[in-house]
Symmetry: C2
Subunit: 307 residues, 2 copies
């Protein structure tokens, strides 16, 4: 079984949507990535940090899904990273109400010895120096490195971000971030420019409008599943990335053709994530539902024109 | 060869985009629909009206593509419908600068005798009373009726619009219009509500974000082809509808499975339409290019996950 190394936040989130609001609940990029990847046959580990205010039951949720948390540091006397946000009525945009870095401020990631030879490394959204540090600690060259990031790092740590972007195979960002990073409005042009920064594969997430993966002159598109209601978009992008990385780890095939399947798997899992608050839906999801919805993705997109 | 009857405007357009502006050029929903449908093996006719200011060369462009214009009335001393608009920088929205109904104000459509038994009827965007009048004139029940409309008629002729919507098999509208017509934000819910108004098939156009077709609980999605540059979106929706209707007319198969192909054909043709001003690209397009780009749609969307 191949290994997937995940770095990213493990956090408390407080979320407001038009449908309701939560107190501090389980959140964080690495959490969503790990839960999503756990739907595949992979060995996975999370590298992250929390404070000693982080409940044991949340840690148990991760280990119950065979996620190795030996690289998840618990800082005594420290407080867990906290994010709070409010979504607008269309759920496509949100305001950040509060961000408390807490233990994340001085985070030095430590890759567990067992995972220094992981085949796939998924660098979730975090300070680019942390992402680089994880790559530095690898003892064998991973078969594939995937990086997720956001506009915040483009604004305040661009040189460090460019350094880590140069080192990865795949980058996943949203459409607005792709435009900001490249200075190009057209996503085709944006992807071409981001290729020149390093990544051979550029994944552009468009939220409810699906996701694109570009590789040289090739491009593939996965729609988001049309849903009656999106309840809470928090974690959808990370769940997408986790499905993408998890599927590639399981299938041991990193061809572009198989990345198409991986993008569909990611979109499929993300379509569940948004159905409830936070991680709720990912935690009550079973594999039968996942497969059944993949069938929906097939009927949604597959056609048969004779050429 | 099956017959396709098209009703819609034949017009002068004056267009401004970030890339330039045109004088009065050939435009109109029926023009784009007719040109698009002419890429299929169909007999087609346009029912519309122009003034005697409409150049013979434009009429010749239509007849050169085997479009029957015996139902295109030329009003002596009348002026052709004129629309002028300016697109914003993102090309997703536009302002109407001028609309002169002219001969359209008193238009009484006359379906040519030869087309009163047309298998497919494509009702392009026009006053719903004109659309209804065309249906009234049919002597045999068409196999399929397709209606395109816009928010303008929802604002100022809603009862008449609801009357004609009740009578058609397929409606094509954009996402904002679907929301306005149904009062539902979710497109899944909007489509379900529009089903109850009459149409068994609801096509929702999302511009650069592709198009959906809903049929009861089934749904299919066609992406827009990612393009380096969109030059002028004018007529893209009509070109899409023309490709949809033209392909269905040619293939003599109106199953939902074949409508999936039709949606792809429509998206494919629309992807050319936006590459130049007005009808320019549709006029210099050849069938080899059309087939070659269909292949791109296949690689863009087809995947192979074993379930």
């Amino acid at each position: 079984m191949n290994k997937l190394l995940i770095v990213g936040t493990v956090a408390f989130d407080a979320i407001e949507t038009p449908f309701g609001k939560t107190d501090k609940i389980l959140g964080g990029a690495a959490t969503y990535i790990g839960l999503s990847a756990s739907f595949f046959n992979v060995q996975s580990a999370i590298v992250s940090v929390v404070g000693d205010d982080f409940p044991q039951e949340y840690l148990d949720l991760l280990t119950a899904r065979n996620i190795d948390i030996s690289g998840l540091e618990v800082v005594n006397g420290g407080k867990t990273f906290f994010w709070s946000g409010r979504y607008h009525n269309d759920l496509n945009s949100r305001d950040t109400l509060d961000t408390q870095l807490n233990v994340l401020a001085d985070f030095q990631p430590k890759v567990p010895q067992d995972y220094k030879n992981a085949e796939i490394v998924m660098l979730g959204n975090l300070h680019p120096l942390v992402q680089s540090s994880v790559l530095d600690q690898m003892e064998t060259q991973p078969k594939l490195t995937v990086l997720d990031t956001m506009n915040f790092w483009m604004d305040c740590a661009l040189p460090e971000l460019m350094d880590v972007i140069k080192r990865v195979d795949v980058i996943t960002i949203n459409d607005e971030e792709a435009r900001q990073l490249s200075g190009e409005y057209s996503l085709v042009k944006a992807a071409a420019k981001i290729h020149t920064m390093g990544p051979k594969y550029v994944v552009i997430k468009k939220g409810e409008h699906g996701a694109l993966i570009f590789h040289n002159k090739e491009v593939f598109f996965a729609p988001a599943l049309p849903l009656e209601e999106v309840f809470d978009p928090t974690g959808a992008g990370d769940t997408f990335a986790g499905g993408f990385a998890g599927y590639l780890t399981q299938s041991e095939n990193i061809s572009f053709e198989n990345m198409k399947n991986a993008i569909i798997q990611g979109s499929n899992l993300a379509s569940f994530c948004v159905e409830k608050f936070g991680t709720d839906r990912m935690l009550d999801l079973d594999k039968t539902e996942v497969v059944s919805r993949l069938q929906q993705f097939k009927s949604l997109t597959q056609f048969d024109i004779e050429l």
